[in-house]
């Protein structure tokens, strides 16, 4: 990936700002998402809550399903591959998806390395729980960063922790004198050039979105208020009582996150949100956010 391709890919991430990227498991759901105002759809066979319930190894989706979603909508299509599984990524690139999510929601294929994302021209989004992890993913070629949160739980607490942590670490980094940046780079486990650039700008060099456990319009607005530039909603839409209305309400909430009166209006009468899980009920092995190195 050359500098031009990198700019085009970050440019596409820019165009997704202020929007909602919705998980869909078939072409019909993709059409519902697009009609509700989604800026992109994430095509996958099972939403994270189902992946949790099923257990076992979760892999990239069947190309037939991804093709059907691509044909059903005109908005960008994102698809997930396993961490480190560069062949799944190559397959998704061959299917001409618009963005690849190298995702902790699927079972990692490599317990040491992530995909060399510079090797492919398609843009990648990666999850992070901290600034160091975000910068490592960007160094590998990610054009967009999202929090991991804890996908499929309907519980926003982890996404909030990751957003607050990212914001705190960014402001601490920006306050450091230049001579302390090499030690900061060492502690972050990220390249010094990228650390310097981030410290000067005071923000990541790519857009950063929120994901993981967002289930209501208020959750989405909370993430925006904590500095996210867009949100991914996985299980929260199609596992809710009224997916169409929930989807449209979350779209409204992301744009008008500062307007509490409007949030009250769009939150009214949506029916039941997806069932949620307390995080302490998850075994360590069930915590997706720990996946990533």
């Amino acid at each position: 990936m050359d500098e031009t391709r990198w700019k085009l890919n970050v440019g596409l991430a820019d165009m997704l700002k202020g929007g909602v990227i919705m998980d869909v498991v078939n072409a019909d759901q993709a059409k519902i998402a697009e009609a509700a105002g989604a800026t992109a759809v994430m095509a996958l066979e099972r939403v994270p809550a189902q992946i949790r319930a099923d257990g076992g190894v979760a892999r990239a989706s069947d190309p037939t399903m991804i093709r059907a979603v691509r044909e059903a909508v005109s908005i960008p299509v994102v698809a997930k591959c396993r961490i480190g599984h560069f062949v799944e990524a190559q397959i998704l690139a061959a299917l001409e998806v618009d963005f690849i999510d190298e995702s902790e929601v699927l079972t990692p294929a490599d317990d040491t390395h992530h995909i060399d994302k510079h090797a492919l021209s398609v843009p990648f989004v990666c999850g992070c729980v901290s600034l160091g992890e975000a910068l490592r993913r960007i160094a590998e070629g990610a054009a967009l960063i999202r929090t991991k949160g804890e996908a499929g739980t309907g519980n926003v607490v982890e996404a909030v922790r990751h957003l607050r942590g990212l914001r705190r670490e960014l402001s601490q980094l920006a306050a450091l004198p230049a001579e302390e940046l090499p030690a900061a780079a060492k502690a972050l486990g990220a390249p010094l050039s990228l650390v310097k650039r981030t410290a000067t700008a005071g923000c990541l060099p790519v857009p950063s979105f929120a994901a993981g456990g967002i289930a209501t319009p208020a959750d989405a607005a909370l993430c925006m208020a904590l500095g996210a530039q867009s949100v991914f909603v996985g299980s929260g839409i199609f596992l809710s009582e009224s997916p169409e209305r929930t989807a449209a309400a979350i779209v409204e909430a992301v744009t008008h996150w500062e307007d509490a009166a409007h949030l009250a209006e769009v939150s009214a009468g949506l029916g039941k949100a997806m069932p949620g899980r307390e995080l302490h009920t998850l075994a360590q092995s069930e915590r997706f956010a720990q996946r990533g190195w």
Partner: protein, 173 residues
Amino acid sequence: MGVLALQGGFAAHVAALRRARIGAVEVRRANELEGLRGLVLPGGESTAMLSLLRRRGLLAAVSEFGRQGHPVLATCAGLILAASPELAWLDVTVRRNAYGSQRASFVAQSDDGVHDLVFIRAPRVDRVGSRVEVLARWHGEPVLVQQGNVIGATFHPELVSASQLHAKIFGAA
């Protein structure tokens, strides 16, 4: 100047206006259009923007703002909105996402060498009405068009730091 900030690349337009020393504010509600001298409709997803425009009386307010003759710059998805039946500011037929998926996104120069063109899942202008002037082309195809106070681009001038388009359209403050 206002930048419609419902969704998409609005922050880059605000930055581009400020680089050109032009004051810019984000517009999300109808009353935020009051007193503005001009408006940018940014890139993003036109379906998402249109569904947000349809709510809260914003579509009528934006439509009225354009008809009052204020300068408008509409880029990429913004161009699709400007050409939509809802606004009908530009008499052109636009094909959405006409070059294919993100893999087909590219950079180029306009045929006259004036504009650096960044195309991201870009639309294509298939037909230009008689009252529409073509300001720039790429491989002979219209990429920058004007009808009265509205200028539409299929590319992203806000992502090119050297672009003079914002200064040219909205004038230095």
